[in-house]
């Protein structure tokens, strides 16, 4: 990646983020639900209500409110959450790692599962098992993440209660963590019992988030592999006596992975969006779960902070995807 293209991408990212900021700010103020109306005490007078409105800066005009908020954000002050009564940036820093670990684990699971099924399906193509793989994949593709979440709650929470239903760690755990990256920290500090506990808590949310993405990866990669398998260089390799498994893994996969990476990047942003409802169902303490409470409480500073974080994540994921695609196929740089 040249310096020019790097700075161009960063500039575009900044402009996109500014656009997100403007849209979310305006939308939050035109959608129904006045946060002050939810806080008015039964005995409040008109003056009390006006004072409350002024306390949260909602008595200013929209452009003035936006300017105050934007300049504060640029100086690192995201404001104070109305409902949680804490610094928004501090809250985001506390909760974001949980979501990042969950999303990353779901991505790894989806990619591994997607590649394994796609490769297996390619190896099994033109056999009686091929339609079965396609049907199963179609099923995974058709069921959205939140339905998976509810189904998993019933299957592994009630019928076969093997996994914890809620939270990120056993509430009985007396171990403390120096960071909010529990999974990573327990791994790096070799606290394997904690690692197991955290992993157990992640299994169901990871499955719910990862299964739909895995099926998309499978579908795209399987088609790309099918195309690659009829190319001349594959036929040549086959004539040289290379086994079908080696043909797929060593020759076809490398060429087929490009479009899969691009699509996975786009779909990963949807997966991050899916954490909102999945975290809620599994009472997982990430930014998605917090976002629902923020919306219910019309907590404007927190919603704005959360949307900016989600926006930044989406942009970062897209940048990383572009970089990966180029790394796998340098011709894409142009």
């Amino acid at each position: 990646m040249t310096a020019y293209s790097f700075f161009h991408r960063v500039l575009m990212a900044a402009i996109t983020l500014f656009g997100v900021a403007v849209i979310v700010f305006v939308l939050l103020r035109v959608v129904p639900g006045d946060p002050i109306a939810m806080m008015i005490s039964p005995g409040a007078s008109e003056a009390d209500i006006a004072a409350l409105r002024a306390q949260y800066g909602l008595d200013q005009s929209l452009p003035v409110q936006f300017w105050i908020w934007l300049t504060s954000v640029l100086s690192g002050d995201f404001g104070t959450s109305i409902s949680l009564r804490r610094d928004v940036l501090e809250l985001l820093a506390e909760r974001l790692p949980a979501t990042l670990e969950l999303a990353a684990a779901a991505l790894v699971f989806a990619v591994v599962l997607g590649i394994v099924i796609a490769v297996t399906a390619t190896l099994l193509s033109r056999t009686k098992l091929s339609p079965l793989v396609d049907t199963l994949n179609g099923l995974f593709l058709a069921v959205p993440d939140f339905v998976w979440a509810l189904a998993l709650v019933l299957i592994f929470g009630v019928l076969l209660p093997v996994f914890p239903l809620s939270g990120r760690i056993n509430p009985d755990s007396q171990e403390g963590f120096a960071t909010q990256f529990y999974l990573l920290e327990s791994l790096l500090t070799l606290r394997f019992r904690d690692l197991a506990d955290i992993s157990l808590h992640m299994i169901m949310p990871v499955l719910a988030l990862g299964l739909p993405l895995a099926s998309i990866i499978t579908k795209v990669l399987k088609e790309a592999l099918a195309e690659a398998m009829v190319q001349d260089y594959i036929l040549l390799a086959r004539l040289k006596g290379m086994s079908r498994l080696r043909l797929v893994l060593q020759e076809a996969l490398r060429n087929a992975i490009g479009p899969t990476i691009a699509l996975t990047g786009v779909q990963f942003t949807f997966l991050i969006g899916g954490t909102v409802i999945v975290e809620r169902i599994f009472a997982y303490p990430g930014i998605g779960n917090m976002a629902i409470d923020a919306v219910i409480n019309r907590d404007l500073p927190l919603i704005q902070g959360l949307v900016l974080v989600f926006g930044a994540l989406f942009i970062l994921v897209n940048l990383a995807t572009d970089a990966l695609v180029v790394a796998f196929n340098p011709r894409m740089e142009a």
Binding site: P42, I82, R193
Partner: protein
């Protein structure tokens, strides 16, 4: 010295990981001994029980009451009992009030609880800048004086419910010295109270772990540890109790309640709580016609709604005063009478061919079967000559419209009143100047106005009963039902239901 190779280290780690996975299985089940795990339906947003939106959330009070003590305690039947105050009252002409502070109480950090804590808490609550949502009550007394464990104060404006609020929203005593030392943020990070349980660990949106306060003035609590798991999703709460991962849960669909309480190892209790469902009427459009209002009320078969939609879990009501409230009057009846409804509508020129038309707003899923109830009511109205159009909105929109007095002619809502006083139900819901009222006419305000500062308690309660009767006669609001709270728990436990709806750990014991 024993040398462990990298390979051995990895093998040991893998073994520990596997042991954790396999050993973790038993952790799925809630601990039987010494720990009570509650799958709770809301998250705890902040610890200070006196400021911010969570301070006025009735559901969160169960958690606050576990960590903090109220000035005055409240029994599960809503009657009052000594809390951190052992005695309280006014002088004869109601110009002064007095309180006696409990002795021998300590804060969770071991420091002594004093009368200064009480006065500081009351004075802080009375200041508008601190953001106490009930400041309008706390500001009605001032000039506090301490003498030993006795406190006296001047009554700024006589407020008959002053002491009742001491057992309700924001009526908590906080530690003066500790709060001043650590500040608001420090208090949120490490809150202390005098309550039966001490905060041990908190993960927002996940869980709150409490440890028993061995020095609690009410005696050491039954459970050494209490865990509130914040599980807002209904399906997940059902799974929590069904799988045994939690010991108690609440607010689940009545169908699930019936199913779960019949399962081996589980039990259930469902009793009326102080929340009611009602239809606000706004004095606009056809609602200015008394015949239409009364017809709309007479046309609703509340018994059928409770039986068919809520599986019998509800109590039909005719006024905004539920049976447990102080100003409940069983003689006030409106009654289901579709023929009378037709007559009333006919008197105003309406019939099934020429129906009275208006809009009714409702939430969907905010309370059990809210939308379905309104659908059923609209169906009943249609049969007598009322055509109502349903508009579904979010609860935040309801608050916004109500504050701006822009609700539709009819709007379904729920109202809580855990102190059972008529001012906190009929008063705030129906008095025109209240920001929460919807009906706004001079005749009703003239009847309610004098009751706010009435010093004779008997006369005051009688006055509110008269107001309820007048409202029923005029049809200014349509009370629908009193809600029933379903609680499911392990049969090895015993749960005492609380009319206020607060599922406090102190109300759970071993069977």
């Amino acid at each position: 010295m024993t040398h462990i190779t990298r390979r051995e280290t990895l093998a040991l780690g893998a073994a520990a990981f596997l042991a954790g996975i396999l050993g973790g299985h038993h952790k799925v089940l809630a601990a039987e001994e010494g720990t009570l795990t509650i799958a709770y339906n809301v998250n705890l947003p902040s610890f200070d029980p006196t400021v911010g939106p969570s301070a006025v959330n009735p559901t969160i009070q169960a958690i606050y009451r576990s960590v903090f003590d109220q000035f005055i305690g409240q029994k599960p039947d809503l009657s009052f009992e000594p809390g951190l105050l052992t005695e309280w009252g006014w002088n004869d002409d109601k110009t002064k009030l007095w309180m006696t502070v409990r002795e021998g109480v300590t804060w969770h950090d071991g420091s002594p609880f004093t009368a200064e804590d009480v006065v500081w808490s009351l004075e802080r609550a009375a200041k508008q800048e601190t953001g106490n949502p009930i400041q309008f009550i706390w500001s009605t007394a001032g000039n506090y004086k301490i003498e030993g464990n006795k406190i006296t104060a001047d009554v700024v404006r006589f407020e008959p419910t002053f002491f009742k609020w001491m057992a309700f929203l924001t009526g908590y005593v906080l530690p003066k010295a500790y709060y001043e030392k650590v500040g608001a943020e420090g208090f949120e990070k490490k809150p202390i109270g005098t309550g039966p349980y001490m905060v041990d660990e908190y993960q927002g949106n996940a869980f709150l772990r409490l440890k028993a306060n061995p020095n609690y003035f009410g005696g050491k609590p039954t459970f050494d540890t209490v865990i509130f798991k914040f599980v807002p999703d209904t399906t997940s709460r059902v799974a929590e109790i069904e799988s045994g991962a939690s010991d108690v849960t609440l607010e689940i669909p009545y169908e699930e309640f019936d199913r779960l309480k019949g399962k081996e190892g589980l039990a259930g209790v469902a009793t009326p709580i102080s929340d009611i469902g009602m239809i606000f009427l706004n004095n606009i459009e056809v609602m200015n016609d008394k015949n239409v209002r009364l017809a709309a009320h007479h046309a609703i078969d509340k018994d059928a709604i409770v039986k068919r939609l809520l599986k019998g879990y509800g109590v039909p009501i005719d006024t905004l005063e539920a049976p447990e409230y102080d100003a409940y009057d069983a003689s006030i009846k409106v009654g289901y009478d579709p023929e009378k409804a037709k007559e009333l509508l006919a008197a105003s020129g309406y019939s099934t061919d020429k129906p009275a038309k208006f809009k009714i707003q409702t939430t969907r899923g905010f309370k059990p079967k809210d939308y379905e109830m309104i659908q059923a009511i609209v169906g009943m109205w249609r049969k007598v000559g009322i055509e109502a159009e349903i508009e579904v909105y979010e609860i935040a929109k309801h608050y916004e419209l109500r504050a701006a007095d822009q609700l539709a002619p009819a709007a379904f809502y729920n109202w809580g009143n855990a102190i059972g006083d008529p001012t906190t139900s009929t008063g705030f819901a129906m008095f025109g100047p209240s920001p929460h009222s919807v009906w706004n006419t001079d005749d009703l305000d003239a009847k309610i106005g004098p009751l706010w500062g009435e010093k004779d308690e008997e006369k005051r309660i009688a006055g509110w009963k008269e107001v309820s009767k007048y409202i029923a006669e005029q049809g200014y609001v349509i009370p629908v039902l009193q809600y029933v709270q379903p609680i499911v728990y392990k049969s090895s436990l015993k749960v005492t239901p609380n009319v206020s709806g607060a599922l406090q750990p102190t109300l759970v014991s071993k069977a």
